[in-house]
């Protein structure tokens, strides 16, 4: 299981049994490009493995569990982070079909990447666990596919399990997604049952690739990864024309040009090819140094004979969740490479592999040097943090996530801020806008009441409610992103005892009665402690923050007022009493050195703390404030 990052098991350049097939394929009519979409843990990866095995692309002996998930992290978390593509062949009714299987990330934060991967396909297998039924991400991904005009084959997996209820689940799929129960494939990726039927169904039911629309070459980038030896490896689907090694290509979105040095497919071993033709799926290497030059959704065309129009649907990645990373320890030793440098190196390196997060160096008076980073979503943030710690070998202090705000100014301009401290002078501010999400929850009917209470308490607006089956429902709400980024998911899980699932999508920004709350320690405002929140909950949140501060800041020789204020108005107050006693009773049997060292330690402690208005605030206090409840 010890695989280094991106050492895809099928990267080995051993001769493949199937190397000859690309010339053997006569007509693009027999190409089928498809994805598998599923909720987390519904067996997508196992199904992919079984599919490769049944097409004899991988022998049983070589089959590594979950072949397509490459990184350690992906395997451990059981989710797929990066999409990749594998080409196999299947005999159906005496004809050979080239099946290009495009893997997609299974999580909400990568909706855009999923939608690009789906664009590269004509059809998709919608996998649903026969014991779990339709979940929030099943629905979200199914609609993504339907919006991309994909043909869907419903696949009910894990039918071998004793608790499987395939007929019920088929009914759920029909009820929610309108896909007929008659079209369902029942299978078990584990035992292999139903897999051959599924492969036949792919050939039979999924449409062939569409015909070329323009003469010029157009290829869609649906994924990429960084390889230490060859630079960026780009996954592409050719829609029009073809690509050949040696071609000079242009990225239509970024405008950068490169010369192709290698083309090929994963079968699943890496198989080089001189050209990739119409409708084919494969990879391209072109001495591209940075992932930033390659944007998922961008169109590749020939530099000498470019297309007029790019393929539709390209978007810049949008970071909506922000937090700060600091090294857990700040090395004072100037001679050695400091912890900040280690963190910086790790972030730089990771960014080569994942250009969808942003980072900028910052300095916090409380926490020292670090980085403010932006992410596509919460899971994306967690993944980046884990990878930094695991692959970069740094221990990270992570502040609580915040969202981005759009500030409308009197002069009509709109500025985006990622940090309450950056809020411009309020006299110039017309409104503060926050990101809004469309939230879809699937849960047992009995929990609907509690979940509605939860959403209503989070400034949610009820949208709709729909039965999936007699016992489960879909609940749609619209909420501010800020209200779900802390502990919403945990609450959902605890209310539904684990049975509820959710999915969300950013729908835009909206102004609300948002205020900046300043925290004053000993009558001095402390910028690093300020927050932006809704006016209606400002008192409650302020009180929580002040109570935490009161616990974290040691008693001083004087009384310390702690206040929360909106503008000039104090909305909450706590007091830290003056210290009454700080004296060592004993003389340690003449061990004077020991007594002195204890006092020296106290002296150093005083120095290390951040002093605000002669109050010492420990680092922990800054972090405690950022935590929720």
């Amino acid at each position: 299981m010890k695989a280094t990052m991106h050492s895809f098991p099928y990267f080995r350049t051993q001769p493949s049994r199937l190397t000859a097939y690309s010339s053997g394929l006569k007509t693009p009519l027999h190409i089928r490009n498809f994805s598998i979409i599923a909720h987390i843990d519904h067996g997508k990866s196992t199904l992919a493995d079984r599919l490769l095995q049944m097409t004899e692309a991988v022998s049983e002996r070589d089959a590594k569990e979950q072949l397509l998930d490459s990184m350690d992290l992906e395997r451990e978390r059981g989710i797929t982070i990066k999409a990749s593509a594998v080409t196999v062949t299947h005999e159906y009714k005496g004809e050979t079909y080239q099946l290009n299987f495009i893997d997609t990330p299974g999580h909400v934060d990568f909706t855009y990447e999923v939608s690009r991967a789906l664009t590269a396909c004509e059809g998709a297998l919608l996998v649903v666990d026969a014991t779990q039924g339709v979940e929030a991400q099943t629905v979200a991904n199914a609609y993504l596919a339907i919006n991309n005009d994909l043909e869907l084959i419903p696949v009910i997996n894990k039918i071998d399990l004793p608790t499987a209820r395939p007929e019920d689940v088929a009914m759920e799929i029909e009820q929610v997604l309108g896909l007929s129960t008659d079209d369902c494939i029942y299978c078990s990726a584990k035992t292999g049952e139903g897999i051959m039927e599924m492969l036949d169904c792919i050939c039979e039911k999924l449409p062939p690739p569409r015909k070329s629309e323009v003469k010029e070459t157009r290829a869609l980038i649906f994924d990429s990864h960084y390889d230490d030896y060859r630079g960026v490896v780009v996954y592409i689907r050719i829609f029009d024309g073809s690509l050949t090694v040696g071609d000079k290509v242009r990225m239509m979105g970024t405008g950068r040009t490169f010369t192709i040095t290698e083309l090929g497919r994963y079968t699943p071993t890496q198989t080089k090819s001189k050209t990739l033709g119409h409708a084919e799926v494969g990879y391209m290497v072109a001495a591209i140094k940075s992932l930033e030059d390659v944007r998922v959704g961008d169109t590749i065309t020939l530099d000498t004979n470019p297309a007029n129009e790019a393929l539709p649907g390209y978007e810049e990645p949008m970071q909506v969740v922000f937090c700060e990373f600091y090294p857990a320890t700040q090395t004072e030793d100037s001679g050695k490479k400091g912890d900040y440098e280690t963190l910086r190196d790790a972030i730089n390196k990771l960014h080569l592999n994942d250009a969808s997060f942003t980072y900028e160096p910052i300095h916090s008076e409380a926490l020292g040097f670090g980085f403010r980073c932006g992410f596509l979503g919460l899971l994306h943030m967690e993944i980046v943090q884990e990878r930094l710690e695991r692959e970069g070998g740094v221990e990270i202090v992570q502040t609580a996530p915040t969202v981005s705000y759009q500030i409308e100014l009197r002069d009509g301009t709109l500025v985006e801020i990622h940090n309450p401290a950056d809020l411009p002078d309020l006299s110039n501010v017309v409104s503060i806008r926050e990101p809004i999400v469309k939230l879809e929850i699937i849960c047992p009917t009995e929990n609907i009441g509690d979940l509605m209470k939860l959403c209503d308490g989070r400034r949610g607006t009820y949208k709709s409610q729909q039965f999936i089956s007699q016992t489960r429902q879909i609940l749609d709400y619209e909420l501010p992103l800020a209200e779900i980024i802390y502990d919403f998911y945990d609450k959902l899980k605890s209310i539904t005892r684990g049975y509820g699932t959710m999915d969300y999508e950013i729908t835009g920004y909206r102004a609300d009665r948002l205020v900046k709350v300043n925290i004053l320690v000993n009558n001095q405002p402390v910028e690093a402690l300020s927050i932006i929140c809704h006016r209606d909950i400002a008192e409650k949140r302020s009180r929580l923050i002040l109570q935490k501060l009161r616990k974290q800041i040691a008693r001083h020789q004087f009384e310390i007022p702690l206040q929360a204020a909106i503008g000039g108005k104090i909305i909450a107050r706590e007091t830290i009493k003056g210290v009454r006693k700080n004296v060592t009773a004993k003389c340690y049997g003449g061990d004077i050195s020991r007594k002195r060292k204890l006092l020296e330690k106290q002296k150093r402690g005083k120095k290390r703390m951040k002093t605000v208005g002669s109050v010492n605030i420990p680092q922990e206090a800054f972090l405690a404030v950022l935590e929720q409840e």
Binding site: R555, Q557, K577, V579, R580, K581, N582, V583, T584, A585, K586, C587, Y588, G589, G590, D591, I592, S593, K595, R596, L598, L599, E600, Q602, K603, K606
Partner: protein, 409 residues
């Protein structure tokens, strides 16, 4: 100051370069009047049970090694005694539990100190006693051997609180021990008490004080419970199995102690120490006045003219030595460090430091100005006060001594 000491450039760094006090060269200098120790501390590292708050070096279940230990200690006393020409004014047997030693071993020990150490006419010689182990024959022996002060570790008179400290003695035995000591002619008696024990109320503590006063000891040490690192008590606190007494309550207990003991005729002379007139502990005062003393026995700390060291806290190592014991934590502070220590020690005394001594201290080293500034600051905030000829803590300042002293060192 002896010339060879100035060549030591240790400056607060721990050094393992010195295997024993013999290597420091200091032993040879003990002849000289300004290096001569005023007292001696002798550590007896045996207990029959380890109390849960205690972090002093002591061993249980070591009956077999007590005789060997005393023999080694007698050796050490003989060797050092040979260098001492000025009479010692205090000797203190601490532990551990010194009274745990067999009477016959005490016989050897007392013979050794009288034979090998020069002892001043009115020297104060103290033995720490656990109330449970005080026995008539031992008390008689100690008194005859020159012991004139007994310090009894009562800690509390309430079984629940003793249990919280993992101290296993019957509170009644404190009284019995005092009577036995008095019957053998030892009248200078200290009782050690601890306050701010988990579960203790202000009333509980006042009752303990009343009980102690009713036994009319000449001296009382009252310590606020300290949570030392690496003790079972501190671990229990960390695990949340005990709850620390609230800071305000502890301060109230301390203030109540000052009031009650003053009313009962005891004078406070140091942060944790009270005595009937003329019964201040001379050995304690020696520490606070930063005098020279010699250290005997494993883990004992010594001090000669700013040089501090500690005998290795390991009985096996101690027994192995053939000459003087191995030492660790050797430290010789620079001038600024020494001034800091003198202030730290002197200000713990209730009467404080003489202004002329303060002036002399502030002239030394490089931090005189900063220290003066700190003193002025704390005088203004009411933690320090100046009398006609002294600087000292105020009543409020005594409770915050470490806040002030950590600024001053």
């Amino acid at each position: 100051m002896p010339t060879h000491l100035t060549t030591l450039s240790i400056n607060g760094q721990q050094s393992s370069a010195y295997k024993s006090t013999a290597d420091l060269g200091i032993v040879r200098e003990l002849y000289s009047p300004d290096a001569s120790p005023a007292g001696a501390y002798i550590h007896i590292p045996f207990c029959f049970h380890k109390c849960h708050y205690c972090d002093f070096y002591s061993l249980v279940e070591n009956r077999g090694r007590e005789a060997a230990f005393v023999a080694r200690l007698v050796d050490e006393l003989r060797i050092i005694g040979g260098y001492l020409k000025q009479p010692l004014r205090t000797i203190f047997f601490g532990g551990g539990t010194p009274t745990l030693l067999e009477t016959s071993l005490w016989q050897d020990l007392l013979r050794a100190i009288n034979q090998h150490l020069p002892i001043a006419q009115n020297a104060e010689i103290t033995v720490e006693a656990n109330p449970e182990t005080v026995r008539p024959d031992l008390m008689d022996l100690l008194a005859k051997g020159g012991i004139n002060r007994i310090s009894i570790g009562a800690q509390s008179f309430q079984p629940d609180h003793l249990k919280a400290l993992e101290r296993w003695h019957d509170p009644e035995n404190v009284k019995r021990a005092i009577v036995l000591a008095q019957e053998s002619g030892i009248t200078n008696i200290n009782i050690d008490l601890i306050f701010a024990i988990p579960g203790q109320t202000l009333n509980d503590w006042l009752t303990d004080l009343d009980t102690a006063i009713s036994l009319s000891p000449s001296h009382l040490s009252c310590y606020g419970l300290t949570y030392e690192p690496n003790t079972p008590l501190t671990e229990k606190l960390r695990q949340g199995r005990i709850i620390r007494v609230d800071e305000d309550l502890e301060a109230e207990m301390y203030e109540a102690t000052r009031k009650k003991l003053t009313e009962a005729g005891y004078e406070q002379y140091e942060i944790s120490n009270w005595a009937k007139p003329h019964y201040q502990c001379q050995h304690n005062l020696m520490y606070w006045n930063n005098k020279n003393w010699w250290a005997f026995g494993p883990s004992a700390s010594g001090h000669i003219n700013g040089l501090r060291w500690k005998n290795v806290p390991h009985l096996g190592e101690y027994l192995k030595a053939t000459d003087l014991p191995s030492i660790i934590d050797v430290e010789k502070l620079d001038e600024d460090g020494q001034v800091g220590e003198a202030l730290m020690l002197g200000l713990r005394l209730t009467q404080g430091i003489k202004l002329i001594d303060l002036d002399a201290l502030l002239l030394k080293g490089k931090q005189g100005k900063e220290r003066l500034c700190v003193i002025d600051q704390h005088t203004q905030s009411g933690l320090l006060e100046k009398t006609a000829d002294r600087i000292r803590f105020t009543a409020k300042g005594q409770l915050l001594a470490d806040s002030v002293l950590s600024d001053l060192i």
